[in-house]
Symmetry: C2
Subunit: 464 residues, 2 copies
Amino acid sequence: MGVDLKKFFEPKSVVVIGASAVPHKPGNDVIRNIVANGYAGKLYLVNPKGGEIMGMEVERSVKDLPEGIDLAIIILPASANPQAVRECAARGIKAIVLAAGGFSEVDEKGEELQEALIKAIRETGVRVIGPNTSGHTSTPHNFTSSFFPLGKIPRGNISYIAQTGNFATHTMRYIITGENFGVARVVGFGNKVDVDETEVLEYYADDPETKAIFIYLESFKRPKRFLEIAREVTRKKPIVLLKGGSTLEGARAAVAHTAAMAAEDRLIDGALRQAGIVRVYKYSHLFLAAKALACMPLPKGNRVSFSAPSGAMLVVMTDLCRQFWGLEVPEVEETTRRRLQEISPPYIRMRNPVDIWPSAYDHGIEFAYREGMEAVLQDPNIDAVVPILMITDDTGVPSLDFIVELAAKYPEKPIYVTFSAEKKHMEGAKAFLEPKGVPTFPLIEEPFEVLSILTRCRKAMNGL
Amino acid sequence: MGVDLKKFFEPKSVVVIGASAVPHKPGNDVIRNIVANGYAGKLYLVNPKGGEIMGMEVERSVKDLPEGIDLAIIILPASANPQAVRECAARGIKAIVLAAGGFSEVDEKGEELQEALIKAIRETGVRVIGPNTSGHTSTPHNFTSSFFPLGKIPRGNISYIAQTGNFATHTMRYIITGENFGVARVVGFGNKVDVDETEVLEYYADDPETKAIFIYLESFKRPKRFLEIAREVTRKKPIVLLKGGSTLEGARAAVAHTAAMAAEDRLIDGALRQAGIVRVYKYSHLFLAAKALACMPLPKGNRVSFSAPSGAMLVVMTDLCRQFWGLEVPEVEETTRRRLQEISPPYIRMRNPVDIWPSAYDHGIEFAYREGMEAVLQDPNIDAVVPILMITDDTGVPSLDFIVELAAKYPEKPIYVTFSAEKKHMEGAKAFLEPKGVPTFPLIEEPFEVLSILTRCRKAMNGL
């Protein structure tokens, strides 16, 4: 099976069937995406009209293609898909992405079409992602089958499995334009008639490009096997999963049976936990936790230190860590405490969490945060550090190089930055720090929520 | 008592004692703030050096001031405060803001000083905010006593009580630069030796400029009276409160007695709920919920409709509404359902929540969201509407005027906007919509979390 998926993620040659010369058509956007991402393999195009598209020759028929192209992307009306699959198989193509919608998700006629499609797949033995998929992406091979105009997709170490069209399209555009981390592999499943999450998980498990796996799923095709594989994977790589309520239909039908629903959900919960999969509930966490993990190590444990320029933030974040996030805000070593005291005026008794305001007032923002952060970073009782940075025109805008330097000096401890600051300086810090590998979060609760998730990933890795 | 606070919030004349000609000194920044906010009353300055500051004459002594100035802002070293209070009282000044720190919050000597200060207050009968306060603000009177360089503070209908210096300084700078709503009154208490939250709450209760009250408190000075007043206020105006864990010291001491702590917290919880105060736990909610309430009505109930361009978002948000947020996502009227069906292709069965993608694909973003939103806005089963706007270069950037128009047409139903979009278009929509009274939220969970809070405010108002 691994061999089949290799053809999807590492194709040496690709053909677009239904290639279009018309801008903004899916059959055109897919070509632009492939070119924009710098795909280095051989690219073939098929359209009955022939001619040229973007300077590339177009074949009139699948029959005109050479034998054994690795991957076909079929962008044809639903009704043409079963036949196209058979034609591809006849040319020795073993991996196919089917973009068209109009199958079981629409009506009875579509269901019949989907049956015909499944028959074609079974009889030919080809492997298929889709139909009704927004495509898949493999940045280490500079490749995407997406027909949504994504442009160049930044390469990174996070891989996604998403049972939703939006994730690989609009959410990915948000990630590309709004966050500073890259992806390794992304699969949008669509109707999932053939290749399923379990196979993709297997591929990601052994994929050296994948550091962590983020999943949105509404249903498990082979739950037992999926959990078996996950149990092994989560010892090596975090799996974070958002489980959609199967279907709205189902959820609605079950409203009268909320007890049964809750019981079922508890079952799922237990099974996921046993497999070491960390369940999240917020859609946003699929990219916020990914961002944190993309550039920082997993925290070794749940013991956090944070520096805040406000008593209220010290108190509120400590409360939240304890009550809701499963995070400890422990006492630090006496040597650490002494160092924190040295950089602060005598009237304040320093400890963890770090009240950074008096030191910042006396010695400046940069000195206070740098020394305060280093004190707790070197402390064996601390697993992760969150500076709540104060940056306004009034306090001055410090160089943030010191945070990048501290991240490099303490590579085993994640640093997540958040703010008590003016908007423009938050944006400036994000633009400076994130490309250098330090994630930032606009709201002060976010780094802690993410830490809470990643602490559970670490526990899973430790078999706890 | 109300009369005394009127002198704080509506001062006809103000004196800065400790006025400074040196830029960036608190005694200078406070003058700049007062000028920047367009204070129209009479402003006096006192400094033993005399001369002029920013073109204004400076008196050498409090004794040189005319009788009966409404409010004094004293920015002098802690040790000079008790005497300055007595001097002010002698000139008929009845309301004083004390900026200096260095009292009970630092050491024993500071504690003694604070005792001397309290004695001066008791013996003279003046009313005092502070010491160690970051000041107070009253935009309807174009006034602030803050020595933190805030600049012009936007006027609005939200009033704050904050037992923390950061809120009225850096957090306020975040609100001013990062959000598009204004405030009416803000009080930072500092050491709270005299004027307390109960009195301020009383003032806000009858204040026509205050639509809603947001509070951060670590301790209640007169809890019984506070709750009594709150019980009446919350029938007319929402009170949202974030309770800090009294002190870190206290919280730490209580670690060994977590059961006792939890029990105490449950007591507080019950008392707040009985008084109709809505408790929140996130610091960010102090401004996110405020933003929503500043320009939109309270929802009449907890029944939400949302439009999403993604099946995953429909499913996940519905799950979260039900499981965590106390929000219903109800069925709509048959006429509403038919209208949603009319604007959508026949293959999809429309309902609430609204799957907007097929309509947007067929008819364009603007048509789909406009018609989809109006259908549910006019439905009697729906109390609030959240469009999850899809805006990318690909889908095109619609004019968002229609959302402003719908907000005006259905003034009793809050509309909160969130996104599945590119970053720049999210920023563009925020900059366009918020000044026109429609709040936006970058992460899709945020409008629902805010709705959850404000639904509880409505319940409190209804005595439920």
